[in-house]
């Protein structure tokens, strides 16, 4: 795929151009915090800021999403609802691109989920490279998500007054083609890109004291560790970690009746495996009643179960759960403790 170059000053016009055809989503300031939101004017888009509270998964898997419309008395066939619109996510970080890959797998395996996949397929992803770590909580380098090879339509890397743009798909290439203001990269641009990548890599430090491929084994060996009890005593079971996680995709399904009392809709909402009732069945049996068991379940999903199911880790090292955790449970510390000082 060809390498292109865009002047930094041309990004605003590009965004304005894209906004004519797409809903453009990107990182902007909201109440002083960085957040992914719909870009209302091109100047809002902040390509150089990171560490958003929530992840862009909400554009493929919204917090609340209608699945079905029905008649309460069943007098007409229930209608499946799939909401999707053309959208560009401009400025997705490598960790979130890696997380999107994970969600793609989860929602396309076995029983493809149209509600996710239609939104996903109608979206174009423009990635932006990180320059330095968000803060002391991110550990993407250790999780292997600092660099992404695929999963984007275009990928921007800042170099001096330009963005050097990798094209990942024909759709991404067509987008630039049609806009017409990107130029072909020259030899100097390629040299510059490699230098920027090298400098970037040096700024990111390894946070784990072991090769992450060993994580499933460390978890397996620690299933009965007292560490889970200790974490369970700290954890407040608030579920914040699940809400901010870019790869958590568990949900609950609920019905709501309209005011006319004859029709209604069924919708899904994000759910949390940390909440006490998550695995409870109607007869009262609760299969993960202890908080430590629920904390362990989450760490095992991220570090073992999803890896076994989909071939990659459910944790991308974005650090969001640590930032959101009220009692400072930090996966870097947990993973390193699991290693056990071998």
């Amino acid at each position: 795929m060809p390498l292109k170059v865009i002047e930094k000053r041309d990004v605003e016009p590009l965004v304005r151009h894209l906004m004519e055809r797409f809903q453009v989503v990107g990182i902007k300031k909201k109440d002083g915090k960085n957040t992914y939101g719909v870009i209302e004017s091109p100047a809002e888009l902040r390509l150089d800021s990171c560490a958003t509270i929530t992840s862009p998964k909400k554009y493929f898997f919204p917090q609340r999403e209608t699945l079905l419309q029905f008649a309460v008395d069943g007098s007409w066939e229930p209608q499946a609802v799939v909401e999707a619109q053309p959208r560009i996510i401009f400025g997705m970080r490598p960790c979130d691109i890696a997380a999107t890959w994970m969600l793609d797998m989860a929602f396309s395996e076995v029983n493809p989920d149209a509600n996710y996949l239609e939104k996903r397929k109608r979206a174009l992803i423009i990635g932006v490279d990180c320059k330095e770590p968000c803060d002391e909580y991110c550990f993407c380098k250790s999780m292997g998500t600092l660099e992404v090879e695929t999963g984007y339509d275009l990928f921007f890397t800042a170099a001096d007054d330009t963005y050097i743009v990798r094209t990942g798909t024909p759709e991404g290439e067509a987008l630039l083609e049609e806009w017409g203001k990107a130029r072909e990269a020259l030899y100097e641009d390629r040299v510059k890109l490699r230098a920027v990548q090298r400098e970037k890599d040096e700024r990111f430090k390894e946070a784990l004291e072991f090769d992450v491929e060993e994580l499933p084994r460390f978890l397996e060996d620690s299933y009965r560790s007292l560490l889970w009890d200790v974490l369970g005593e700290k954890c407040l079971s608030c579920g914040s970690c699940n809400l901010v996680c870019p790869t958590c995709y568990c949900f609950n399904v609920l019905d709501e009746v309209k005011l006319n009392l004859s029709e209604g809709e069924r919708y899904r909402v994000w759910d949390s495996c940390q909440l006490e009732g998550f695995a409870k069945v109607a007869t009262g049996e609760n299969f993960r009643e202890r908080r430590g068991d629920r904390v362990r379940h989450r760490f095992f999903r991220k570090g073992k179960y999803m890896k076994e199911m989909f071939g990659r880790f459910g944790c991308v090292g974005c650090g969001r759960c640590t930032r959101a955790c009220l009692v400072h449970i930090n996966p870097i510390e947990v993973y390193n403790q699991l290693k056990g000082g071998e």
Partner: protein
């Protein structure tokens, strides 16, 4: 991944139920009713014994319910339901003619084909008879294909016994060894008293050619599996069906997960060999 690699999907999604009509309601006990349904388009459910469906009471919600009838018995299907939550209480308020939504059948049922030619030892505790009945009917409808058939059934007290007419029929058959026990008797009870493991004393089981199929509450598994292991059965011929909160039924929502396994996909029927290393299973 590259969006072009994502599968094409039917916009008539995995979350849309089909409409089914309630044909008949039969009171089983103070808490359980047996519901007979038929799809409005007349198609059979097409279930394997041991599978479950997601039942919609529109406006209330959806709940996973095991199918209690065998595919060997016609185009209707039966669900035996205890009134215990929002959806199941809504079902209990319904009368024949009412409409529900059905998704499924879902999950892996009992491996009927692999069981052919073998002796079958059924062990049901309480509501466990509900999913087990679908297999018992299938086995009895193909009786000549199986060896010795034993049915052990236990409930807390006589008032909780389900499918009483059928229990009497099983009792009367020469080709079925049917035994029942209750934890606590009442004045009318003349049968065995004691937990279900008491029925194993002196029970003849040929470990070379028997499949044990056990369905009941979690506490029962721990004790009954011990009994059948004690009879010499290999772990791969001990089958159980696990109850979990299958919210979506299609391997997405996460509620039914046991360690790394989605029960709605790999189960609800498992061999003990598959479960012995899943610490959260039983």
């Amino acid at each position: 991944m590259d969006a072009r690699l994502l599968p094409t999907v039917d916009l008539d999604t995995i979350f849309r139920p089909r409409l089914a009509q309630l044909l008949n309601v039969e009171e089983m006990t103070a808490k359980e009713k047996l519901f007979t349904f038929q799809f409005k388009d007349g198609t059979p459910l097409g279930q394997d014994p041991g599978q479950f469906v997601e039942v919609s009471a529109f406006g209330i919600g959806e709940a996973p319910i095991s199918v209690s009838s065998s595919p060997t018995r016609g185009d209707t299907f039966e669900l035996c339901v205890r009134a215990v939550g929002n959806v199941t209480n809504a079902l209990h308020r319904m009368a024949p003619g009412a409409t529900v939504g059905i998704r499924g059948p879902f999950g892996r049922g009992f491996p009927v084909e692999e069981m052919r030619g073998r002796n079958v030892l059924f062990v049901a505790g309480g509501l466990g008879l509900v999913p087990l009945r679908s297999l018992i009917h299938a086995v009895l409808d193909m009786r000549q294909d199986f060896g010795a058939v034993t049915i052990l059934y236990g409930t807390k007290n006589p008032s909780e016994l389900l499918f009483r007419n059928e229990l009497a029929q099983w009792e009367a058959r020469d080709d079925v060894d049917y035994q029942v026990t209750v934890d606590v008797a009442d004045e009318s009870w003349r049968g065995n008293v004691g937990v279900i493991t008491t029925l194993f004393r002196g029970l003849p089981v040929d470990p070379r050619n028997t499949v044990a199929v056990i369905v009941g509450p979690p506490v029962m598994y721990r004790f009954v599996i011990r009994e059948v292991l004690g009879k010499g059965l290999p772990m791969g011929r001990i089958l159980v069906s696990l109850e979990r909160r299958m919210k979506c039924g299609v391997g997405k929502c996460g509620h039914c997960q046991i360690n790394g396994v989605y029960v709605c996909q790999k189960g609800p029927v498992f061999t003990y060999a598959e479960l012995r290393n899943l610490q959260e299973a039983i």
